[in-house]
């Protein structure tokens, strides 16, 4: 295949790695954008999700937010936010990606608290824990596996979606692919394939890495059987 040879050639050119706007630059941008988006998502979604789960209300709200977010095209949000007072640059991109990180984080935080054994909750109440203590000392620790699953789902989604930031020149590895399409298939075909390979490998690598971290951080008694691990609460 011609395009595949071109892609290998393109990846073997050291200038494509180290130039300004080369692979290393783009990788750094990609990781920074994703990290900031997931961080904002966590700061917003976890407190809300834990609180809704604690009070037992808002199940409908969680489902509604997930459904509506699913229907909004990423491309649209990435296009609209820079035209608001936010302005251009990385800020609107980070915010747009954070919006897509919220549903899995929120849903898993909510489910995580809801699934806590009612008897454990009653026992904690009986020991005289206040609502706040109940949340931080009993429900939060027991929800950790769900929080971890949500974090992983959100992170992988954001890293994958960050590639679309290239539509609005927001940086990231997707920029390599977009630039390739801009050159046309005969010239840029190799670059397109190379960019696809890089973005795909990054997403799969992050998924694998986070799976290992999740396993290492979850206390042994809370580790759920393998068949439940891949099922986020949003689906």
């Amino acid at each position: 295949m011609n395009a595949i040879n071109q892609a290998i050639l393109w990846l073997n050119d050291p200038l494509n790695w180290s130039n300004p706007g080369g692979i290393l630059d783009r990788l750094g941008e990609h990781l920074w954008i994703s990290f900031a988006a997931v961080l904002i998502g966590c700061l917003v979604a976890w407190p809300v999700g834990l609180w809704l789960g604690h009070t037992g209300r808002g199940g409908g709200v969680v489902v509604l937010i997930s459904n509506v977010t699913l229907a909004i095209p990423t491309v649209a949000l990435l296009t609209i936010l820079p035209l608001t007072p936010l302005g251009f640059g990385q800020r609107p991109v980070i915010l747009a990606l954070a919006v897509f990180a919220v549903p899995p984080l929120l849903a898993n935080a909510y489910t995580g608290v809801r699934q806590v054994d009612p008897e454990a909750r009653d026992a904690a109440r009986g020991m005289g824990l206040s609502g706040r203590q109940l949340l931080t000392r009993v429900e939060l620790p027991l929800a950790v596996p769900y929080l971890a699953t949500g974090f992983r789902t959100a992170s992988v989604q954001v890293v994958a979606t960050a590639a679309l930031a290239s539509f609005v020149n927001g940086g990231g590895l997707g920029q390599i692919i977009s630039a390739g399409f801009g050159l046309g298939m005969s010239v840029g075909g190799g670059q397109i394939l190379a960019g696809a390979l890089l973005v795909g490998l990054l997403a799969l690598g992050i998924e694998g890495l986070l799976a290992l971290v999740e396993r290492a951080l979850t206390p042994r008694p809370l580790r759920r059987p393998g068949r439940f691990r891949r099922r986020p609460a949003t689906a």
Binding site: V68, I80, A235
Partner: protein, 225 residues
């Protein structure tokens, strides 16, 4: 044409809709076509895959793992993989990428539905002398309809949103409007029309499928009210 800094670049304008009704309509038609084709293909491939995984347990892991890996690959990357191999002059590139994404949701939900059938029902079907295929079509699949439908609805809504990515190679339906407006000196009315139609289309198709589900499963209606 209006410019970004001109006072008249509103988020919504009837003028734009009147002048560009044809463009908007053809983008909408392209969007609906790509979505329905992708979901239909994914259902045609995904349902048998799920049934295979249901019948032969050892296949469950590999099938779920493969579709999971596919889902992890970013949509832009998948499009970029497919486009040089299939060619960018055809909507087929977009379609293939869309089908691969819808596949996972359909397989996963169908399999979950089939695996959750009550054992007594299956025993009863066995006792009535149903063979493998008779049981599949008369008992297993009808009872799994709610789960299958959940998968179809998720797949449809996310496909509607994903179609827009195809506008990178010029087959993005309403996404072409969104990006076209962005490139066209940030013509806000065009962007918003594309976005609103996209979200409305997703919700409308979701409602249609939910309605079809109610018609197909009359036995659940009494229980759920």
């Amino acid at each position: 044409m209006q410019y970004a800094d001109a006072p008249g670049n509103p988020w919504f304008s009837w003028q734009y809709l009147r002048d560009n009704a044809d463009t908007v309509l053809s983008a909408l038609v392209e969007h609906v076509t790509l979505t329905t084709q992708a979901v239909a293909f994914a259902a045609v491939v995904g349902l048998p895959l799920a049934v295979l995984a249901y019948w032969f347990r050892p296949l469950t892991g590999p099938i779920l793992a493969l579709s999971g890996v596919l889902y992890t690959i970013p949509s832009l990357a998948l499009l970029a993989f497919v486009a040089p191999l299939v060619g960018t002059t055809r909507p087929a590139s977009v379609l293939i990428a869309l089908v691969l994404y819808a596949l996972l949701l359909i397989v996963r939900n169908t399999l979950a539905g089939l695996n959750q059938l009550p054992a007594e029902v299956l025993d009863a079907a066995q006792g009535m002398g149903y063979g493998r295929f008779a049981r599949l079509f008369r008992v297993d699949l009808p009872l799994a309809i709610p789960a299958i439908l959940t998968g179809l609805r998720l797949a449809t809504v996310s496909t509607v949103a994903l179609v827009t990515v195809g506008s990178l190679i010029g087959y993005g339906g309403l996404g072409d409007l969104i990006l076209g407006g962005f490139r066209n000196n940030f013509y806000k009315a065009e962007i918003l029309v594309g976005t609103v139609l996209c979200v409305a289309l997703g919700l409308l198709l979701d409602l249609l499928l939910a309605g079809a589900g109610r018609l197909l499963t009359p036995w659940t209606r009494g229980a759920r009210g």
